[in-house]
C-alpha cells in the first residue's frame, strides 16, 4: 500500500507549471470582495438594513409635515414596522458575525457553519411566519381606510363574499409561504444539505 502511495507521489510531483499569479495580481485580490456564502449574506443584510434606515428617516421627516389624520396614522404604523425590521436585520448580522472560518479545522468549521446557517434559516422562517400575517392585516386595514370602514364591513354580510375572501386569503397565504420556502431552499437549503452530508461523512 505504502509503495503504491509512493508511486502516486512520483506522478503527483510531475505537476506542470501553473499560471503563476504575479505580485500585482495577488495585491489586487486583497482589495476585492469575498464571495463566500456568509459574506454574501452579510452584504445583503447590510444593504437591507441601510435601505430600511433611509426609509425610516425619510418617512419620519415626511410625517412631521402631515396634519393629524388617516395618512399620518398609516405612516406611523409603517414606521413601527420598519423599526422592527431594523432590529430584525441587526439580529441577523449578529448571527452571521459569530462565524469565523479561519480558526477551525474542517470538521469544526463544517459543524459551526451548519449550526449558523440552520439558525439563520429558522430565524428567517420564524420572522416571515409573523410578518406575512402582519402585512396581510395591514393590507386589510388600509383597504378599509380607503373604502370606509362601514362599506368594508358591510361586504362581509354576504356569506358568498365572506367565503370567497376566506378561500382567497388561504390560497394567498399558502402560496406566499410555499414560494418563500422554495426560494429559501433554493438559495441556502441545497448548500446546507450538502454541508450536512459532508459532516456525516467525516463523522462516519
Amino acid at each position: 500500500m505504502e509503495e503504491e502511495l509512493d508511486d502516486l507521489k512520483l506522478i503527483w510531483k510531475q505537476q506542470p507549471g501553473f499560471e503563476a499569479k504575479n505580485e500585482t495580481e495577488i495585491g489586487l485580490m486583497l482589495k476585492r470582495k469575498s464571495n463566500t456564502l456568509v459574506n454574501k449574506l452579510k452584504r445583503n443584510v447590510w444593504f437591507e438594513l441601510i435601505f430600511t434606515v433611509v426609509c425610516i428617516l425619510a418617512m419620519a421627516g415626511y410625517n412631521f409635515t402631515l396634519p393629524e389624520g388617516a395618512l399620518r396614522s398609516t405612516i406611523l404604523s409603517l414606521l413601527v414596522l420598519l423599526i422592527s425590521y431594523s432590529v430584525y436585520y441587526v439580529k441577523k448580522i449578529k448571527l452571521l458575525n459569530q462565524y469565523d472560518p479561519g480558526i477551525e479545522n474542517l470538521k469544526d468549521n463544517l459543524s459551526h457553519l451548519i449550526e449558523r446557517l440552520d439558525l439563520y434559516m429558522k430565524f428567517y422562517k420564524r420572522s416571515y411566519a409573523i410578518l406575512y400575517p402582519v402585512f396581510f392585516g395591514l393590507g386589510l386595514l388600509f383597504g378599509a381606510i380607503e373604502k370606509g370602514f362601514d362599506q368594508f364591513i358591510n361586504k362581509f354580510e354576504n356569506p358568498l363574499y365572506s367565503l370567497a375572501f376566506l378561500i382567497l386569503s388561504i390560497v394567498f397565504m399558502v402560496g406566499v409561504y410555499t414560494i418563500t420556502n422554495w426560494y429559501l431552499k433554493k438559495l441556502y437549503g441545497n448548500h446546507l444539505d450538502k454541508l450536512k452530508t459532508l459532516l456525516e461523512e467525516l463523522k462516519g
Binding site: 500500500m1 503504491e4 502511495l5 502516486l8 507521489k9 506522478i11 503527483w12 510531475q14 505537476q15 506542470p16 501553473f18 503563476a20 499569479k21 505580485e23 495577488i26 495585491g27 485580490m29 486583497l30 476585492r32 469575498s34 464571495n35 463566500t36 456564502l37 456568509v38 469565523d100 472560518p101 479561519g102 480558526i103 477551525e104 479545522n105 474542517l106 470538521k107 469544526d108 468549521n109 463544517l110 457553519l113 441556502y188 448548500h191 454541508l195 459532508l198 461523512e201 467525516l202
Partner: protein, 163 residues
C-alpha cells in the same frame, strides 16, 4: 503603497501559490471557477492571517483555510456538463500532452476528482508529503481515523487508476 504586512503576505502567497493552485484544480473544473476559488482562498488567508500561530507549519494553516473555503465556503454554481468537460479538456492540454508522465498525472487528477470532496483534500495532502498528524489536525479527525481513511482512499484510487 502597500503596507509591510501586505507585502510579506504577498510574498508568502507567491512562495506557496502552488498549494492553492492544486486545491483549485481538484475542486473546480472550469477555468473561471478555478480563478474565483483562487481569489477567494487568497482573501480568506489574508483575513485569517492573525489566526496563524507560529507553532504550526505555515502550509498546514494554508491547507486548512484553503480546504475550508473550497469545501464549505462557496456555494457552487451549476454549470453545464458540456462546458465542464470542454474546459477540463482544455485545461488538461499542454505542450507536453503526449508525454507519458503527464498522461499519468492527468489520469491521477481525473481519478482524484472522482473521490468525495473530503477524500480529495486528504489524498492531496498525503501526496504533498503532509504528515498524518497534520492531516488529522487540518481535517479534525484522529490520526488512526486518517490511517483508516487513507487505506480506503488508496484502494479506491487503485481501482479507478486501473479502469
Amino acid at each position: 503603497m502597500k503596507s509591510a504586512p501586505e507585502k510579506s503576505f504577498i510574498n508568502l502567497i507567491n512562495e506557496h501559490q502552488g498549494l492553492i493552485h492544486k486545491v483549485c484544480m481538484l475542486y473546480e473544473t472550469d477555468r473561471d471557477a478555478r480563478n474565483d476559488l483562487f481569489q477567494e482562498i487568497v482573501l480568506q488567508l489574508w483575513k485569517s492571517i492573525h489566526t496563524f500561530r507560529g507553532d504550526a507549519k505555515i502550509t498546514t494553516w494554508m491547507y486548512r483555510i484553503a480546504l475550508n473555503t473550497a469545501i464549505s465556503g462557496l456555494r457552487k454554481q451549476k454549470r453545464g456538463l458540456q462546458t465542464q468537460e470542454l474546459e477540463e479538456r482544455h485545461f488538461n492540454i499542454s505542450d507536453r500532452a503526449t508525454d507519458n508522465q503527464e498522461e499519468n498525472l492527468q489520469k491521477l487528477q481525473r481519478c482524484i476528482r472522482q473521490l468525495s470532496e473530503i477524500e480529495r483534500g486528504m489524498i492531496m495532502m498525503a501526496l504533498d508529503e503532509v504528515s498524518y498528524e497534520e492531516i488529522a489536525e487540518t481535517i479534525g479527525i484522529t490520526q488512526n481515523n486518517v490511517r483508516v481513511r487513507m487505506n480506503r482512499i488508496r484502494e479506491k484510487l487503485r481501482k479507478l487508476m486501473n479502469t
